[in-house]
């Protein structure tokens, strides 16, 4: 690390500390300011494009700066973007809607904090919806951090809708069975016996003394399964191990990178529905009318995608210009 980088880091920290103390309340630009800022951003990108065409290429730090601006600016801007519902998210929602009150839903949390910014808003929306619908949630994880992510999602749901905290009781309305090692072998074993893989919950309460698990022996006693997945083991393993073999009905919420891999299962009917990435979360929030983080984050993602596309175009301008000069 050279002295310039140290100064840059200090300046960035100082900037954020100043912003934190100067603006204790969330800052929100008016709609006019938001439009002006968006136009300025677009004009700057246009200037960069023209400069590239003239032969003055930019360095990658400029790309970083613009992606940073595109990701952070929408948090302060007042505007709404249309969130159309994709057929796969609609299908997942419709299947959940069909479940009668008191249905037992297995929620498999197979992700960890690196993927949480993408999957956690989806998990929170799911928990809020499930608790309000009166669904009974059985939580488990094939990733060590999964059950803790579920706890955080429940905590956030209780904070956003305080009346849920009085209504929902641990052990009666939901249970957290924790993590079990063994990847797809856990899925297969649960087809025979849940208790064999989870003899106690995370509080060491014996399986048989948990009210929600009464009469739950294996998948045949589960009405639905929802898997939040960021990789392996995840949705693919659940489809191959539980859906194919034990006829478990299932939908999934995947990271945007992983979602394309689940499409063949979706078309084959092995998966009922699929929420892919932040967009899937925002769509589910819209369907459940619980607008929260995914709806906000998708604006940032939209801006970032637009900026990246502009830079790809600029990069191609530079490429073709360079090729023409060589000729």
């Amino acid at each position: 690390m050279n002295i310039k980088e140290v100064i840059a880091v200090i300046l960035i920290i100082a900037f954020f500390l100043c912003a934190y103390f100067l603006f204790p309340k969330p800052v929100e630009f008016s709609q006019t300011v938001s439009i002006i800022l968006t136009i300025l951003l677009a004009l700057t990108l246009l200037v960069i494009g023209v400069m590239t065409f003239m032969g003055r290429y930019i360095e990658r730090r400029v790309v970083f700066l613009f992606v940073g601006i595109a990701l952070t600016l929408p948090f302060f801007m007042q505007f709404d973007l249309p969130v159309p519902i994709s057929p796969e998210v609609q299908a997942a929602y419709d299947e959940l809607e069909k479940l009668p009150e008191g249905s037992k839903v297995l929620a498999a949390f197979d992700y960890d904090p690196p993927s949480a910014p993408e999957l956690q808003p989806m998990a929170v929306a799911f928990m809020k919806y499930a608790f309000q619908r009166g669904l009974k949630i059985i939580i488990m994880g094939l990733w060590p951090q999964g059950p803790q992510q579920a706890d955080q999602a429940i905590q956030t749901a209780f904070e956003v809708i305080p009346e849920l905290e009085d209504k929902i009781k641990y052990g009666r309305d939901y249970v957290n069975l924790g993590f079990q090692s063994g990847n797809e072998f856990v899925i297969l074993r649960m087809g025979e016996s849940f208790k064999a893989m989870f003899p106690t919950d995370i509080y060491n309460t014996p399986y048989d003394s948990i009210p929600i698990l009464k009469n739950v022996k294996n998948y045949s006693n589960i009405d639905y399964c929802f898997n939040f997945s960021a990789g392996k083991p995840g949705t693919v393993e659940w489809v191959q191990g539980a859906v194919d073999r034990f006829n478990l009905k299932m939908s999934a919420g995947n990271t945007a990178v992983q979602a394309p891999m689940a499409y063949p299962y979706l078309q084959a009917g092995q998966l009922d529905g699929l929420m892919g990435g932040m967009a899937g979360g925002a769509e589910f929030e819209k369907l459940t009318e619980h607008y929260d983080k995914a709806t906000v984050f998708i604006k940032s993602q939209s801006f970032a995608h637009a900026v990246v596309i502009v830079f790809i175009i600029i990069g191609n301008v530079a490429f073709f210009r360079g090729r023409r000069r060589k000729k």
Binding site: P84, P114, S181, G182, S193, R245, A304, H305, F319
Partner: protein
């Protein structure tokens, strides 16, 4: 015997799983359950083995003053701190009334998880956005027909999967909306490609598994 015993175990376990899939009745399903339980236990030990191995490597680096002493020290300190709080909160929770888990709100472990581990992990992952953007700018070029098709498909999916695509083309008829094009790309060409890859992997997996179970493939035992 060092080769024969593992080969015999592989043969028995492989065939039990194979038969249990098609004949899910005793004794095959009972054997399968036993092997599944065994695998979970072995996997749990593997987690410990992995963690202890990481600590061993880090400690060797620190004591031999090799490169990355600073990083190795961070690994050891972080490991010890999180293990301490895990055990401390776990044991405290077991004897508390009401009982609580080391993962619950208010515990030191949860504080570290939520405000240190989660934030740092998310930050590391978020850096991808910047590197992907930079890589796209430098490498996503229309060099030939295939690259151009990939480029166009990439741009359509990037725009069509976020609301800005609908903002741009939402007023047009359905056939011209970017989100519909993105959905088509995901549902038709993407699914076809994914299926081809999956079928290829499955066929390779079946043939390799059979070779391993029958003892024809012995590379996993080490040596030749």
């Amino acid at each position: 015997m060092r080769r024969e015993i593992p080969m015999a175990i592989t043969f028995i376990v492989g065939f039990v799983f194979l038969f249990a899939y098609f004949i899910p009745h005793p004794p095959f399903n009972e054997f399968e359950n036993t092997f599944n339980d065994s695998f979970s236990i072995i996997a749990a030990f593997a987690i410990w083995l992995g963690a202890l191995n990481l600590i061993k490597i880090s400690l060797v680096k620190i004591f031999k003053k090799k490169s990355d002493v600073l990083h190795s020290s961070f690994i050891v300190i972080s490991f010890l701190v999180i293990v301490f709080f895990g055990f401390y909160d776990g044991i405290r929770g077991l004897y508390a009334d009401p009982v609580f888990s080391f993962r619950d709100q208010g515990t030191g472990f949860n504080w570290l998880y939520e405000y240190v581990y989660s934030s740092l992990s998310a930050t590391m992952f978020a850096l991808l956005a910047f590197f992907v953007a930079s890589a796209s700018y430098r490498a996503f070029r229309a060099r030939n027909l295939e690259a151009t098709i990939l480029l166009i498909a990439g741009i359509l999916v990037m725009l069509g999967r976020v609301p800005i695509g609908d903002l741009m083309t939402g007023w047009l008829p359905d056939a011209f909306q970017i989100s519909n094009w993105a959905n088509w790309i995901m549902n038709i060409p993407n699914t076809a490609g994914q299926r081809a890859i999956m079928i290829g992997i499955a066929l390779g997996l079946v043939s390799t598994s059979l070779r391993i179970i029958l003892g024809l493939e012995r590379a996993y035992l080490g040596g030749d």
